[in-house]
Symmetry: C2
Subunit: 191 residues, 2 copies
DNA sequence: TGGAGACTGTACCGATCGGTACAGAGAGTC
DNA sequence: GACTCTCTGTACCGATCGGTACAGTCTCCA
């Protein structure tokens, strides 16, 4: 029998996703509890389930979609349409460095790919990486590389980013990430 | 008031760890429940807590220790003492490929490094990677590389392995892992 | 033969899990 | 003012969480 006063905060769905995103990022899908999400957003379950009727799975799916959209707009698009491959790759590298806060931030898509929740989100995870892979390979082709070399180097770049995030966090040394990005950029257009 | 017959399985602690290891590997630390571990080992909580009085945290710590020991014996030691750097690196690559089942298996140390449980196991995680890094850099020095180049290339190799596991799983394509290992080996002793 | 001690299943614990139900509060609309 | 609709906190649900307690069963050794 609540009698109380209910504060009205008027949350915007768009403001919510980044907050929820950070909870999934630092706790993983299974570790991100509604209690943690509630604390991070300042919202009770009522509000959370108002915005996301399908609960935790929907929150994660929408967070993944938002991340995908950010990369689509800020990274993939430029890769596809640029007519200056070297510049496009430099832009990608700078964008990635900014997004992952020079190695302080972890890749949620990678985290989910490694966990048991991959089965639930496998198509979103696969789509994210393969669209990135395609866009980057396209840029490399335009730089004169053969299709097979372009695809090999592009996969190498993606895995370098993911591995650098893992190792930087494991060693608690973000310099690893910065160095990996330098190496990656050099390798992409070498020879 | 149990009346029943209790089957006696006589489990060996040494046989338990690999089974528990796979549960942590595929579910992460937070996702690995006692129920899953019980199912994987065929043991009830009674037996589990008999072998691991400190519960889940102790299980994970011992699994990490066993992994560390395996790499120490099968990978790091050869790296440190070999007088044929090219052969040592070929052996490491082959060993890594075998251990990770050509990309079908995930790295538990990496999984933990990315998750929230890193805080609990940070020293074990850091130790594993930095000892690997040191051993590999030592090999590269013996191959004539400067200290700084050796350390840079060695970190690059470690992060390539981790990233390849992430990307292979994300794209559900183990060829990514095999190719990354080939590239890594070539890069380690290049020029 | 009869402890002693290692190993086992299971009942149980309080806490927390994801999710539901619902009533109250605020802002508009007529 | 009465009605609607959106957003809110909270009480509550059954299930499961990690962990404890304990009695039963086995093996070993005197």
């Amino acid at each position: 029998m609540a009698k109380g006063t209910i504060a009205r905060t008027v949350s915007e769905r768009a403001d919510l996703l980044p907050l929820i995103s950070e909870v999934f990022r630092s706790h993983g899908y299974e570790g991100a509890t509604l209690a943690l999400i509630g604390k991070a957003t300042g919202l009770g379950k009522g509000s959370l389930y108002h915005f996301f009727p399908d609960g935790k799975a929907q929150m994660a799916a929408e967070v993944l979609a938002e991340i995908d959209h950010w990369f689509e707009v800020n990274i993939f698009a430029a890769l596809r349409k640029s007519d200056d491959p070297a510049q496009a790759i430099a832009d990608m590298t700078a964008g990635v460095d900014r997004y992952f806060r020079s190695g302080h931030r972890v890749c949620l898509v990678g985290v989910i790919a490694l966990g048991a929740s991959r089965d639930i989100f496998s198509s979103q995870v696969q789509d994210y990486f393969s669209r990135w892979n395609d866009a980057l390979a396209q840029t490399l082709r335009r730089a004169g590389l053969s299709t097979s070399v372009a695809r090999r180097r592009s996969a190498d770049a993606l895995l370098t980013i993911q591995g650098a995030l893992v190792l930087a966090r494991a060693l608690d040394d973000t310099k690893v990430f910065g160095q990996a990005l330098v190496d990656m950029k050099a390798r992409l257009l070498a020879k």
